[in-house]
Amino acid sequence: MTDIIKPMFEVNNLKISFATNDGIVEAVKGVSFHINPGECVGIVGESGSGKSQTFMAAMGLLAKNGHADGSIIFQGHNLLELSVEQLNHVRGKNMSMIFQDPLTSLTPHMTILAQMREVIALHMDLNQADTDRVCREWIDRVRIAEGARRLNQYPHELSGGMRQRVMIAMSMLCSPSLLIADEPTTALDVTVQAEILDLMDELKRENGTAIALITHDMGVMARMCDRLHVMRYGEYVEEGTAEDVFYNPQHQYTKMLLDSMPRIDNPDRTSHHKLKPIDDSQTGDDFLVVDDLKVHFKIKVGGGIWPKTLPLKAVDGVSFKLREGETLGIVGESGCGKSTLARAVLQLIPPTDGVVTWIGKPLSGLKKEELKDKRKDLQIVFQDPLASLDPRMTIASSIMEPLLTFAAHMSKTDMKERVMKMMDRVGLNRNMINRYPHELSGGQNQRVGIARAMIMQPKLVICDEAVSALDVSVQAQIIELLIDLQAEFKLSILFISHDLAVVREISHRIMVLYLGRVVEMANSRDIYDNPIHPYTKQLISAVPVPDPKIERARKSIKIPGELPSPMDPNAQFKFLPSKRDQVAQGYQPKLIEHSPGHFVAEHDPLETLLA
């Protein structure tokens, strides 16, 4: 390849090491790459691969115990040799960075405008009026509605997606030639992710801003990047144009990454374990029946001497049936009530209204002792594997704990044997028995969580975002484990996730939740191949596919407007504006059986909504 254009950002043999209590740890082991003007270069890798550290070093943001060797040339300077004062003239001006977690990346006690003004005051010579004009222009440019009002608000008054857009606006104020985005959309919902990615792509095309995109998500890479580097253990194992890497991967690791990535457009990956189909003739209909379940929380609104409370309808009339050996996937964006629903089903939160029936008997309204007996068969696996285990208990005692509660008659040796067998079953090495959670990886801890949930051989397991915090390769293994366990123990699973591609792989049926109500429920094939509700369509179209050609040709569906507050009585009518005038009469969109087993909430046609 002949480089006629001079690269604007060039990294040569960069090594980064950290001095820790266990000695020197090499995070980056001599990488070299360059970024040309107006180009998007991606660095993809799993957690701990060192992908962010390269750019942290460039921005002078390495942790205090970190040390960088080699050179990072930007605009004729070696950034590693600049003093903090010299670097302060570059960062935020010619080169800026946005971070993974938009919720904590803005200063909480300063208004958006104050935080933006600061950048201009530092790097540009503008008067007050021009400063405010530029800020306003960028807020509009990143498509934040009601910009004037938003500028005077504090970060906590904005949603996560809006805060990330503020971050982008703030980093674009001085028209930098390089924008570094470190997992910019990982913490965001898919529909918001789609919008942020579109925005970044637009900035690249219209302003000629080069983008360095760091992510673990091959789908995001496919949508955004011209060239990419695959990183593992501090080294680049593969690099090339997006087409090369996606269509003709050379390195084993790249192939593995691409293969582990669940694909929404293709659920039948070759290497994958298959879901066991449900035999309708054998299973009864009354395994788990949830009827019109409601969970309302009282929220204080406004001040005054006697503050009022309004109900927040986290779950508002959800009904479904689950058969033995079946997985029902529950998907929806953050705040749609999916976790609350799971907890209400297990009676971990008392439902406000509605009935949960478990093998013919009601679960709701039971006494504590009666409920405890049932818990043996009802288990839950949580999102954060490390935080859900007691840090002071060895993993074996965590796994054994349900036995002590429900099978106290067993001898200690028998219990231990059972724990060992369970550890084998979930793929944990027997010699880990005396380890503590912090000594294990996230994937291993989640296996402990699954072993703990499975040890009493429950009939129902709820997985609440059980794989969301894991790397794709580990995620794929955990999903296969769940599929296997289900086939072996005839387990029923409620699988809750915001990731539609993952849910597709593991679920027989799928329910889409929107602000506490079901908008669509059907077989997983039907819902992906033939989605009917506009919200389902929007969600599916927002999921990036790890295939550059498909991804770049695809248009995602954008229904105008922000996600409404669940306390807004109009919220459910976002997809049914034609009947909004009936809110006052307490009208709610009905769930209609479109074809056998395929339920869709009442809605206006997509075309009218987009208009």
Binding site: K93, T107, P108, M110, L122, Y154, G303, G304
Partner: protein, 307 residues
């Protein structure tokens, strides 16, 4: 905020009533009376004395009279110990003393403690940090009943610069040593809390963002880090302020200042019911008042808190 203050005022009324009831009950439950001393008064004299102060009445009548006095005329009643003096008189004499050295102590503790804590956090793991931590630990383990004699030995006996006690209407020579003795341990606590909360804030994500903007270190600390770092300090300062301005027994006794702390102990030992109640109520009202001020300060520091 206005409605918050109103709500807080109303909700503090039952708190203060319960405080009065409990201290009233505790004192009546203990055996003996203010006038049962070693000498043993003749029963007739004792009965006369009790009748004079209304102690022969049933307890609910005593309580009723007492509450009525406080609510309608802000009158805490006569002292049982000091003849011809009312509790109001005694408080009016003692409170200005403790308020004077308390305010000075508070001001100095804050003015030194907070900057010291910030500097230690900013220069984390340097000599300055070790020095600040060393001072904090030293000053906190050194109790003021050790501190006070040391000060007297140095400044009064050796150097002969300052008077060893007394108050003299709050002349500055008399105020210095009580202030130093009282403020040092608070200063140390403030420095320690500021340091640890500042360290936590400095590792927050928004500080990383501020660095990425290219801001200078000083403006990162002043504009971005200071306000959130002060939150835990403020919640310590509320109760600390109350206990400083209501005085310290040790300071009052050691330096013979005649402040409120001394009365508190005297009243308890002498069973001077009305004085003890008076001091308790003043303490309780102060605590509620400054907790409210802390809450208002919180709302100013953190826009997420809406009053």
């Amino acid at each position: 905020m206005f409605s918050f203050i109103i709500r807080r005022t109303f909700s503090s009324i039952p708190t203060i009533l319960i405080l009065i009831l409990i201290s009233f009950a505790l004192m009546r439950l203990a055996p003996g009376s203010p006038f049962s001393s070693d000498r043993g008064l003749p029963p007739e004299v004792l009965a006369n004395l009790e009748a004079k102060y209304g102690l022969n009445l049933p307890w609910f009548e005593q309580l009723y009279t007492y509450l009525k006095g406080i609510i309608f005329s802000f009158d805490f009643g006569p002292s049982f110990k000091y003849k011809d003096r009312s509790v109001n008189d005694i408080l009016a004499q003692g409170f200005p003393v403790t308020l004077t050295y308390g305010l000075w102590s508070f001001f100095i503790a804050v003015a030194v403690g907070i900057p010291l804590g910030i500097a230690a956090a900013v220069r984390h793991n340097t000599k300055l940090d070790y020095l600040a931590v060393g001072f904090s630990i030293g000053a906190q383990v050194l109790p003021n009943f050790v501190m006070a004699p040391i000060l007297v030995i140095i400044f009064t006996l050796w150097l002969n610069w300052l008077p060893g006690g007394g108050w003299n209407g709050g002349e500055w020579q008399y105020v210095i040593m009580p202030v130093i003795a009282l403020s040092t341990s608070y200063m140390a606590s403030i420095a320690r809390i500021t340091r640890s909360s500042m360290l936590e804030v400095l590792s927050a994500n928004f500080i990383r963002t501020a660095k990425a903007k290219g801001l200078a270190n000083s403006s990162i600390i002043l504009n971005h880090a200071l306000k959130p770092a002060l939150l835990p300090v403020i919640s310590y300062l509320g109760p600390a302020f109350v206990s400083m301005i209501t005085g310290s027994v040790i300071i009052d006794i050691y330096f013979s200042t005649g402040g409120m702390g001394q009365f508190f102990v005297d009243a308890a030992l002498n069973r001077d019911y009305s004085l003890l109640m008076g001091v308790t109520i003043v303490f309780g009202v102060m605590t509620i008042l400054f907790n409210t001020i802390v809450d208002i300060a919180y709302a100013w520091l953190d826009p997420k808190i809406r009053l």
